[in-house]
């Protein structure tokens, strides 16, 4: 192994350097200049994102613990773009007086979790996978408790760390059973020996339960709403978009490779969990008034849709899941971006506060509407294409009734998304939120997500690229 081999871990290395650089800059800056960290970090992360798109060699490191190929790079790049948008959207909030002391902590913790996710996606065995998962989870708990002087935020941090610990324990138990049953922790050799003996099925169930916690699938979703509501809004959007996206990526890779042999067995379970997740997520979202809780439950329901692609069980399923996550990142960041912009400037975050928003802040309202339509799967925005392909992949495996249930759920979700549209456009309000102008960074973040919502759907090239890569992982 020489130095150039190490470079295939480009994403992880650069992020590590980035986190350290932020730390060093923070040490050397005088207290009143702390805000300078923000533009510097943004610029550095932007460079990191751009460099990430440069072509790279596939390869294996550390005797198979770490692997990378074009598809995995693609996943990491998707996450990078999402994080970039989140960083842009959090600038205004970070500049607030109360956060001045801990700006660098926000970036360092965030980058650390991103490193964890990258390692998790690139893992070649369960050990690296578990390390990545933990690295991606524990700092988020600190992030959730970022505004720790607020009880809710502190509570969110504790809830997140406790439920993560529990789920990690279950997951680890599953991994140990897998090791016991197959004698290996390497994905490739586990895959060859995986059979549908009771113990291996049990091992899978434990493993999947752990992942279901991370993805907040029903019935393992109970932590989600409280944590999402308590955490600062930008951390919430990070949790619901990036964290969940990374978990979905690694889950689909493992389901399609390692556990592929027991697909006929787990498909029944997935079917049931998909129906439960979509339905219960939707039914809870119906009654939410707090925008953060509202988006939390809606994102639970969205996770249920991801399972449809996994059930598809073919290249189309894989492609549609990755594509859906990509579209979901942009749509959800559009919605979270608006909520964040409004919440940072005015401190308002319930649905009633949005009454008559269109009369004062038309652009924000339009972006919010488009994002919500995209989440609901309405054309011409990208969410329509994302959902359509997911449904198509489930239908390709013959799950027509599941598709029907899913589309009905999409209709239910349209109801509560329209409630927000109704608040903004239709409801009359004596005193709507006053007009405000967001700063440049926030606007860039919003425009980026808005562009993504429009472009991703019509630009079929993106789907085709993902599709051509998805062949690489399947056998």
């Amino acid at each position: 192994m020489n130095f150039s081999d190490i470079l295939i871990m480009r994403h992880e290395l650069m992020l590590t350097v980035l986190a350290l650089v932020v730390l060093i800059i923070d040490l050397n800056l005088h207290n009143r200049d702390k805000h300078l960290i923000i533009p510097i970090t943004l610029a550095l992360f932007f460079i990191h994102t751009v460099v990430g798109f440069m072509p790279s060699q596939p390869g294996i490191l550390f005797g198979g613990m770490y692997r990378t190929n074009a598809l995995l790079l693609m996943m990491k790049n998707i996450l990078n773009v999402g994080v970039l948008i989140i960083l842009l959207q959090s600038v205004t909030w970070l500049k607030k007086e109360e956060n001045r002391e801990k700006i660098s902590e926000y970036f360092i913790l965030l980058f650390t979790t991103l490193i964890g996710m990258n390692f998790m996606i690139s893992s070649g065995d369960f050990l690296m996978f578990y390390l990545g998962l933990e690295l991606a989870t524990i700092p988020i708990a600190a992030l959730a408790a970022y505004t720790h002087h607020q009880t809710k935020s502190a509570e969110a941090g504790i809830k997140l760390i406790l439920s993560s610990a529990l789920s990690s324990g279950i997951l680890l138990f599953g991994i140990s059973l897998i090791y016991g049953a197959t004698g290996s922790i390497y994905f490739d050799s586990v895959m060859q020996h995986y059979a549908n003996t009771p113990m291996q099925v049990l091992a899978f169930i434990f493993f999947f339960t752990g992942m279901a916690f991370k993805l907040s699938l029903v019935p393992f979703h109970l932590w989600t709403a409280d944590v999402y509501e308590g955490a600062p809004i930008n951390v919430t959007s990070y949790l619901s978009v990036i964290s969940k996206g990374a978990a979905a990526f690694i889950l689909i890779i493992l389901m399609f490779t390692v556990f592929n042999t027991i697909a006929p067995i787990y498909n029944h379970m997935l079917y049931l969990i998909a129906v439960l997740t979509m339905t219960i997520g939707n039914l809870f979202a119906l009654r939410q008034k707090n925008m953060k809780r509202f988006l939390a439950f809606s994102s639970i329901a969205q996770a249920g849709f991801i399972l449809l692609g996994i059930l598809g069980g073919n290249t189309m399923g894989m492609t549609s899941v990755i594509y859906f996550v990509l579209v979901y990142i942009f749509s959800n960041l559009g919605a979270f971006g608006v909520v964040s912009a409004i919440s940072t400037v005015t401190g308002k975050e319930t649905m009633d506060d949005y009454d008559g928003l269109y009369s004062t802040n038309p652009k924000l309202s339009l972006l919010m509407m488009l994002s919500l339509f995209s989440l609901a799967g309405i054309p011409p925005v990208a969410g329509f294409f994302g959902k359509f392909f997911l449904f198509a992949s489930a239908a390709s495996a013959g799950y027509y009734w599941l598709v029907f249930i899913a589309v009905l759920n999409a209709t239910i979700s349209l109801y509560y998304y329209l409630l927000v549209v109704k608040a903004m456009f239709i409801n009359k309000n004596e005193k709507p939120l006053a007009y405000f102008k967001s700063d440049l960074a926030t606007r860039t973040g919003l425009v980026l997500s808005g562009l993504g919502i429009f472009v991703l759907g019509f630009w079929s090239q993106i789907y085709e690229i993902i599709n051509s890569l998805s062949f690489g992982i399947l056998h």
């Binding site: 189309m316 492609t319 339509f373 309405i378 054309p379 011409p380 329509f384 359509f388 392909f389 449904f391 198509a392 239908a395 390709s396 027509y400 598709v403 029907f404 589309v407 009905l408 999409a410 209709t411 349209l414 109801y415 329209l418 549209v421 109704k422 456009f425 239709i426 079929s460 789907y463 085709e464 599709n467 051509s468």
Partner: protein
């Protein structure tokens, strides 16, 4: 460039133009110019289509244009028209044009109103030119969603309830539809060819009958909800009653036709075996629509509700005729779509104009309007007579053809059900004449009505356009029905080759 692409491009340009405008005057002018151009384009298309045909072009679809969109799924942006879609496009052009003039005085958020209206129209135009199921579905949903905003913001009465009910029911319909379309897609190539969404390609293969049995109800009901199929019609009266004038016109006039058109172009054309098997169930449902809609219209007091239930009845007749699956009846179905589209748009335009003057839609509170607003009164009578099927207007041509076609079936079931459906003509006469009597004739009940102004110039443009079209079809139906018949022939041929019959 292909002429059909302009049916998407012009509305998009118009939307872009409206974005640049500042107030009502500018935005309505831009909309009128854009949709006027669209109307002219529609007639150019009719002319081009007819000259192609007379030049001996026998392709089923003309002006085809095909771009691969998602190569790995074989999704195309594929467009093309035959006589049926050309007729529907001309109808849409007329109704949208009239709708713009009917909303000439839209004071509240005019730009947003016209943009939503034109996006809706884009969806409808796109739907009619698509021959790829994916594109078709995309445009279908694009046409439905602006309804929520249009009714929710500019509607009247319980508008939020109606808008939500309408959107959710139609979206539930598209849920059924999506399952049907995906099923069709995955069985579109039994012989190992790449799967396709292209209607013309799929029509060359036979989808296995047991698959058809499962998919046909999904597809037919999916479209049927939009076509106000009983018992899924309940969105229609509420939605129409709450919608602003132009939206009611467009919705009843054009959007509901998407249901009939899709049911015939997709459900029946692609799954003829299952259609033959299951037609009897849907024939019963549609004849309930026809009769029940007409009876409901009798007891309504609100003008818009009367017309909404009348639409349920007339649109039920479209699905009824489509399910008869012979040349004459299906020809009648298409003419009925166009006839009803024009006349219901005229009705809703008139109701909007009358409401704008009297500030009530309750027929009991009005009377003798013929004396004060003679122009609107006369046009109302014309619309009413067209609706009840008086010879000389389009309604007569349509209903006559439908019932003659339906009666060509010799078995008892079809005969009985035709007779039941035909009774709606009498019921229609009852509610139309009743309204005309109370509303227009008799003494003037309210002194405020003595000084009402008659139609303004823009209202006259709106109504006269529609009246001309109705009488043109009524007096010279052959050009329309020849155009339709030519394109129907291959479809009916495919249907009649099938020997399967249902329960009856």
């Amino acid at each position: 460039m292909n002429i059909l692409n302009f049916f998407i491009i012009i509305p998009l340009l118009t939307v872009g133009g409206i974005l640049l405008t500042k107030d009502l005057k500018q935005s309505r002018l831009v909309s009128a110019i854009g949709m006027g151009a669209q109307l002219i384009l529609a007639f150019v298309l009719v002319y081009l289509y007819l000259s192609e045909r007379s030049a001996g072009n026998t392709e089923p679809m003309l002006f085809m244009f095909d771009v691969v969109w998602f190569p790995s799924l074989n999704i195309h942006y594929a467009i093309g028209v035959d006589g049926i879609s050309v007729a529907m496009i001309a109808l849409t052009g007329l109704v949208v044009f009239a709708g713009i003039f009917a909303s000439w005085k839209m004071e509240y958020l005019p730009r947003e109103f016209f943009i939503s209206l034109i996006i809706l129209a884009t969806g409808v135009f796109g739907f009619f030119i698509s021959i790829d199921l994916f594109t078709m579905f995309l445009f279908y949903e694009l046409a439905v969603i602006p309804m929520y905003i249009l009714i929710g913001i500019w509607g009247s009465g319980p508008k939020e309830y109606s808008a939500m009910k309408l959107t959710l029911m139609l979206m539930a319909g598209s849920a059924l539809l999506l399952v049907g379309l995906l099923g069709i897609y995955f069985f579109s190539a039994p012989d190992g060819n790449p799967l396709t969404f292209n209607i013309m390609e799929i029509s060359k293969v036979v989808i296995p009958i047991e698959i058809q049995r499962f998919l046909f109800p999904f597809t037919f009901i999916g479209f049927g909800i939009l076509g106000a199929l009983f018992p899924f019609h309940t969105w229609s009266p509420d939605g129409h009653a709450s919608a602003p004038t132009a939206v009611s016109m467009l919705h009843a006039g054009v959007l509901m036709k998407l249901g009939g058109y899709g049911a015939f172009r997709v459900a029946i054309f692609l799954m003829p075996e299952a259609a033959h098997e299951q037609a009897w169930i849907f024939l019963i449902l549609t004849s309930i629509s026809v009769v029940y809609g007409a009876f409901s219209a009798i007891v309504q007091k609100d003008l818009k509700y009367i017309n909404a239930y009348s639409s349920v009845s007339h649109c039920g007749l479209v699905l009824f005729a489509v399910l008869m699956m012979n040349q004459t009846a299906m020809n009648g179905a298409i003419i009925q779509m166009i006839s009803h589209g024009l006349m219901t748009a005229l009705f809703f335009a008139l109701i909007g104009m009358i409401y704008g003057r009297t500030h009530t839609r309750m027929i009991n509170e009005m009377g003798g309007l013929m004396k004060v607003i003679p122009f609107l009164g006369v046009v109302y009578v014309i619309a009413g007579l067209a609706s009840l099927g008086l010879p000389g207007f389009s309604g007569f041509v349509a209903e006559m053809t439908i019932f003659v076609g339906a009666f060509q079936h010799v078995d008892v079931f079809h005969r009985v059900i035709t007779i039941i459906a035909a009774s709606s003509i009498v019921i229609t006469a009852v509610y139309i004449l009743r309204v005309v009597g109370i509303l227009l004739l008799g003494p003037i009940k309210n002194d405020h009505f003595l000084h009402l102004d008659d139609a303004k110039w823009y209202e006259r443009i709106s109504t006269i356009t529609l009246v001309l079209a109705i009488t043109a079809i009524g007096t010279a139906p052959w050009w329309l029905s020849n155009m339709i018949n030519y394109s129907l022939a291959p479809i009916v041929e495919r249907l009649s080759a099938i020997q399967i019959t249902g329960l009856f």
